[in-house]
Amino acid sequence: MITFRGGVHPPAHKGLTDELALDDAAPPAVVRVPLQQHIGAPAKPVVEKGAAVKLGQTIAEPGGFVSVPHHAPVSGTVKAIKEYPHASGRALLAIEIENDGQDTPADELEPMPDWRAVPVEALRDRVRAAGIVGLGGAAFPTHVKLSPPKDKPIHTVIINGAECEPYLTCDYRLMIETPDAVLVGADIVRRCVGAERVIVGIEDNKPRAVEMMERNARDLDKVEIAAVHTKYPQGSELQLIRAVAGAELPKSKLPMEAGVVVQNVGTALAIYEAVVGGKPLVDRAVTVTGPGVVSPRNLRVRLGTLCNELIEQAGGMTPDVGRVIMGGPMMGLAMPGADVPCMKSTSGLLLLLRHDLVSYELNPCIRCGKCETHCPAGLATARIGLAVELGNIERAEALAVLECIECGCCSYVCPARRPMTQLMRVGKSKVLKERARRKIGA
């Protein structure tokens, strides 16, 4: 089987939740919708304090092309627009809505059941109007990906069902519970970008998902289900493209350069719901899991629900929780607290115990080479790490530190427990700063 070089095999821990169907989480009494939920410009609020809003009503408009609107996840009253703790650790503006419990629909978007007859532009506009971003974690506005320039013909849509992060199972559940909707979403994407075929890449440790998707794809033309090698980070865009389409792209190139567009399973479902059902992105699937959760669950969550409340709905925390992570253990964000609203990019909440926590230190490198042989980006990781440590930013740049995809494999394997990924991040930001400085100087 074709796969990529490097990568690691962390224990999957999917058994905690993979047999649990997605349940609707109880809608919270108050939601807090952060304005910054995606890569690109934050959205701008279009409602004021005291305004009555309906479920799905636009409450914030895109702040630029690479930006999307946000919608009210509940019906009720806008209580405030103020700073609130954000997953990033900073306090950022959020719209606070008090839930009236009615879920009165706004019906802003007309359903398009016969979407095949709708012009492609209208489909793209719909995807944007519905506030859809990549739900795999990167949160890149989806309509941008659906608008490839004319000179970059797209031949393949890849649906990312790899879900390679340990612990997370919400994409798996979507593939099992709503495979047909995911496939229609994929077909809409295919039509938007003018591609010939769709390939769904699923890690081969999820045979049931492969089977369900295959069964539903049977009558569809030009849809392939590809079981890909189980190896982290198989779900990273570049690695998945390598595995299913054979094209090896550097990070500095966009997938469309290889004629490929990649969309996550959850994003495909959101596209289906937005186009066929006229439903804006107001909820998403979240896996609440880990040894620090009393009864792990897969939940369909209104955006803006506090992580605390989700943890409560999963039976609460065990007393020895040491870290709350938004996302998976390899790339997720450790949060100072769980008093933070769920966002469009929140694929999971992972609670790890204190005694399982990892600490990295600036120990000397013992030159074992493991970080380099496991780096999926093919970087001379150990040497870049050393260069960054010594402040030799030029060398780090020459060694292509910017190609690092921050997957975490190097830190994962380093027997000296060096914070390699962290060093890469520092190196990248210093190189970018240096480049900006050079530009201004020139």
Binding site: R5, E248, G259, P364, R367
Partner: protein
């Protein structure tokens, strides 16, 4: 209290301490075997060297104001064991103390401590002892109690009829250094390290493979208890496969290829680099054994190749993802 730190939040179980501990575990069978071949001396000497190496490590770390961590402690132990493994069981106890102090002090800390040493510290210690105390370092004890020459020394002077059989070479009840004689037990230890992913196959296979090819081409010498063909010559000659097992099993080459040339710090980092390094070690070992003045060549071969590691590392960068096969379209496929 929640702790916040950069991802990833999980890690592989292997850490430096555990890796070094695995190396020690892998060496224990050969040490136990030495007890049966040479008596308690080898074990005593190893223990003494360990204490000396540890004391030196801790003292130097303290003096340099560094913290004493698992990795440093375990790696000092590995150095001590490996150094003792390549001295004769007849050396006096103080000699291994000198060797251990030199190995840790000069081989390791003079270069900046763990991670910075260019040479394998154990081999630095051994090389020092070799040059300072040549005679005790090359006086051997045979398992039957009398002292005598090692198989490689027999090979060197053409005394092929004195060579032990391949079986004895593999088992190790022959003359030689404390831990190098039992090829079988060393290979078992190496297999353990391979399974535990402490080492990869690249260095040992390249090393032993290159040595085999080299002696096949240049040193077809076999004779004696092995009951093999008698083609007696030393130097250029017809290609004689029989030379290969003798050269691989005798002397310290298996110890060197599996436990010393694989030392992380003083060997290359990428698989490609490891293969180049291993091949270099194999050829140099062959050159020294067949054309050089010493019967054995393992330590000097590895030390010489250690010097080339920065060069090899520079020449064998990993291949950047996307650097080749960029844009290979598979649209129609």
């Amino acid at each position: 209290m929640l702790s916040v730190s950069s991802s990833p939040h999980v890690r592989a179980r292997e850490d430096a301490g555990r890796i070094m501990r695995d190396v020690i575990i892998a060496l224990v069978p050969a040490l136990v075997a030495s007890y049966f071949f040479f008596g308690i001396a080898g074990i005593m000497l190893t223990a003494i060297a360990c204490i000396a190496a540890l004391a030196t490590e801790i003292a130097l770390l303290a003096w340099r104001g560094r913290k004493v961590d698992h990795a440093a402690v375990y790696s000092a132990l590995v150095t001590a064991v490996l150094m003792t493994f390549c001295v004769s069981p007849l050396v006096p106890w103080w000699m291994v103390v000198v060797g251990a102090v030199v190995a840790i002090g000069i081989g390791k800390h003079a270069f900046g401590g763990l991670g910075h040493n260019i040479f394998n510290p154990a081999l630095v210690g051994r090389a020092f002892l070799m040059s300072a105390y040549m005679v005790p370092m090359t006086t051997w004890k045979l398992p039957d109690g009398i002292s005598g020459a090692t198989p490689l020394a027999h090979m060197k002077i053409g005394a092929y009829d004195k060579l032990p059989s391949l079986w004895h070479l593999a088992l190790g009840d022959i003359g030689g250094c404390i831990g190098e004689t039992s090829a079988i037990l060393l290979l078992a230890g190496a297999a353990y390290l391979l399974v535990r992913r402490v080492i990869t196959w690249h260095v040992p296979v390249a090393y032993l493979g290159a040595l085999a090819v080299f002696v096949w081409i240049f040193g077809g010498t076999t004779k004696g208890g092995a009951g093999l063909d008698v083609h007696v010559f030393n130097g250029l000659g017809p290609m004689n496969l029989g030379a290969i097992p003798v050269h691989l099993l005798a002397g310290g080459v298996i110890l060197g290829a599996c436990f010393m040339a694989t030392d992380y710090v003083s060997s290359p980092m990428t698989p490609k680099g490891m293969i180049i390094f291993g091949v270099g070690c194999g050829i140099l070992t062959g050159v020294i054994r067949i054309f050089g003045g010493y019967p054995e060549g393992t330590s000097y071969a590895i030390l010489l190749m250690n010097m080339t590691v920065p060069l090899i590392d520079r020449a064998t960068m990993p291949r950047l993802f996307g650097a080749r096969r960029l844009m290979k379209k598979k649209g129609a496929a």
